[in-house]
């Protein structure tokens, strides 16, 4: 009986061992099958990528600059877009809604005053298509004479924006009423929220002359709420948009 049990046990062990070996074999076979599948897939990827490269190269060759130019000359005749085809902002769009008077001078914004501060505060900075960063950021601080990176002075920016609105209103006659009205409207709205603000906005032309101290003052006045002037700047723009929308309706 004992002998039989011993033999049975050893047979059992052998069977177990054989079973394990078989399982390991199966597993190994499957792993290797999968591995060669991966390898085949890789080969296919390489082949497809190369194929893609050929096709891309062919496309680029057929659509190279000289070829495109030749086609454009013969077939399409496209020309570069002109200044009239671009609109920078809502204000330019709105300017189209009213014809200018006969003897009105063309509105030109000259670059004599540094308006980068206003541009930053009131409107999103122009992004360079190359770096994706703001254009102003691309310009590095240079040698010793170059002013250090400008600290954004929202109060001054808002003040200068008010000034610019005033200037534009003066230049283009038909827009005087419109612009002034807008100024009032903005002032009204902000006055409803904060009675101290409209004064600032109205006194901007003078402020601009003595920009620094004025800016300093506003800063100290609104020291407790540093975010406000900036918010007002955006508010101005937002109101402007709203106004235009309502006009459009």
């Amino acid at each position: 009986m004992i002998v039989t049990a011993n033999r049975l046990r050893s047979i059992g062990w052998v069977a177990l061992l054989a079973l394990c070996a078989a399982l390991v074999m199966i597993l190994a076979f499957r792993v290797n099958a999968l591995r060669s599948q991966v390898h085949r897939a890789e080969l296919r990827i390489v082949a497809l990528k190369q194929e893609k490269m050929y096709l891309e190269t062919e496309f680029e060759t057929r659509a190279n600059q000289q070829q495109l130019k030749a086609w454009n000359d013969v077939e399409f005749g496209y020309v570069a877009p002109t200044a009239g085809q671009y609109l920078e902002n809502e204000r330019q769009l709105a300017a189209w809604s009213k014809p200018s008077e006969l003897d009105a001078p063309t509105p030109i914004r000259v670059a004599s005053a540094d308006d980068s501060v206003i541009a930053q505060a009131a409107f999103p900075a122009m992004a360079s298509p190359i770096s994706g960063k703001a254009v102003a950021d691309e310009k590095p601080a240079g040698g010793p004479d170059e002013p250090a990176a400008k600290v954004l002075d929202h109060a001054a920016a808002t003040a200068a924006l008010g000034e610019r609105l005033g200037t534009v209103g003066h230049v283009e006659k038909p827009k005087v009423a419109q612009k002034d009205k807008s100024g009032d409207k903005v002032a009204d709205k902000s006055s409803a929220a904060k009675p101290a603000k409209p004064k600032e906005a109205k006194s901007t032309p003078k402020q601009a002359k003595a920009e620094k101290p004025a800016a300093a003052k506003t800063k100290s006045a609104s020291a407790s709420k540093p975010a406000k002037p900036a918010a007002k700047g955006t508010k101005l723009a937002a109101n402007e948009t709203k106004r235009k929308e309502s006009q459009g309706k």
Partner: protein, 579 residues
Amino acid sequence: MNALTASAAIATGRVQLANVRQKSLVTAKIRALWVLVLFVFATLTAMVRLGQLGLFEQTPERTSMAEALLPARGEITDRNGVALARAFPSYSLWFNPKALGEGGAPLVKTPEEVAKALLSIFPDADYNDLVTRLKAGKPSYLRRRVLPEEANKVFALGEPALEFPRENQRYYPQGSLAAHVLGYVDEEGQGHVGMEQVLEKRLLDPAQRGTPIALSLDARAQGALEDELGRGMLDSNAKGAAGVILDVDSGEIIALASLPSFNPNRSDLAYNGLVFNRVSNQVYELGSVMKPITIAAAIDAGVVNDMAKRYPATPLNIGGFTIHDSHNFGGSLNVPEALIHSSNIVTAQVADKLGGPALRRTMMALGMNERPTIELPARGFPLFPRGTDKQGDWARITTMTVSYGHGMAVTPLHLAAAYAALVNGGIWRPATLYKVDPAHVPTGRRVFTASASARMRQLLRMIVVDGTGKKADASGFRVGGKTGSAEKPGSGGYRKTSLIATFAAAFPMDKPRYVVVAMLDEPQGTQATSGQRTAAWNAAPVVGRVVPRIGPMLGVVPDGSRDIDISDLSPLVGNGDGE
């Protein structure tokens, strides 16, 4: 006895028979065993092999995917990732005379017939050359680069001796675009002339060649520049043309063109004078385009502090040498007028007051006394006046001639870098062909003060609005620039009819982003240029046409309602015609 012997004999015979049977049985068994052993061995071998195949890696020389996709030579792209040069496995046409076995004719048809058939597939091939190659019976390339459809046609000829090995070659999808920047790769795989030569190691390094190298060029701007320069060259019947577009704030070269150009795809044809780069290698006396540099130096030195101050405009006699203007501009001119009309006389007087050392310092700060800073191997050495004394200070007349761009020869690239410094706030930066990370723009060195630079922006804009650069005034782009038409030096002094016409410009002037320099070599007066050969009529219009094409692509939007304020200077300028 007989019977006994007979029976005994039979018995022995039986025994023998039994022995034979035994023996053959044993043999048969042994043979069967052998067969069994063989079968078992074969089965075992098969099993072992099966296990080996199933359990262990089956392909010893397995290359990884990354290795298979690694190009033989790194790719070069423009700043936006457009491929300018890439490794490309293409077919070539190889003549193997031994394809039909040793001895006997290598070709099925006659060499003449085959050459004729090849000529119908490749019309630009040389018939005589093909015939000699086919007759020579030596293995050789009949053609380096063959399109798949052409290969199919050759295959249809049924000549086993014409083979199409697939080889790694260098391919330039944009053709001759930016050929001088890229250079070419010869049959041995060696880069020449441009960045192919400069980046040779990097392009072949297995660790690095997988990632493409981005140059600062913009293929679209490059295409526009080459196209318009080519047109300007044809319009004015010029010998050659050169142009460069430079980012004023980073020194990146957005486009660089030297015409006539070559096709780097045909490296076999590239061994000629066309590989010569006029932008970085040829030095020219550029003439009046140098005047703004002199004026800016004078503003910085406090010599020109009153724009209304008038200088006599009558021919100036200095030590037997007379300085003339192209026209008579009246008795006197102020500085803005002098620039607008391009007066040599007034510029020379300003330079005289400024003094040689100061002007020399400025020119040296702008790198005019050394090879241009660019990665290309071909860089011309400027002809910088050596000076008379030990410090190298210039003679009075040298200072005066240099002030209006004579007596000193520099490359158009020097000029572009100097103009970038002139308008960007006064900082000179080395020009580069690598894409510059905006966060790591080189610091550069200050040459002009910011205020002088601002003043120059006004003056350059005035030249385009009121002066010789009118034809470059692309509407809405606020272009500012200066013309220069310098006579080329010949054997007996300057040649009146051989000019170098240059227009150096920047845009938009209210916030300069790019400098554009266009130069024409020996333009002629033609109907297209109204019979004129000066820069105002040939180089300025090139810039006027290039800027609207590249501006919107480079992020400069035309805007009719913006401009630089020149209201403080415009009252100072009377009306008159310039150069």
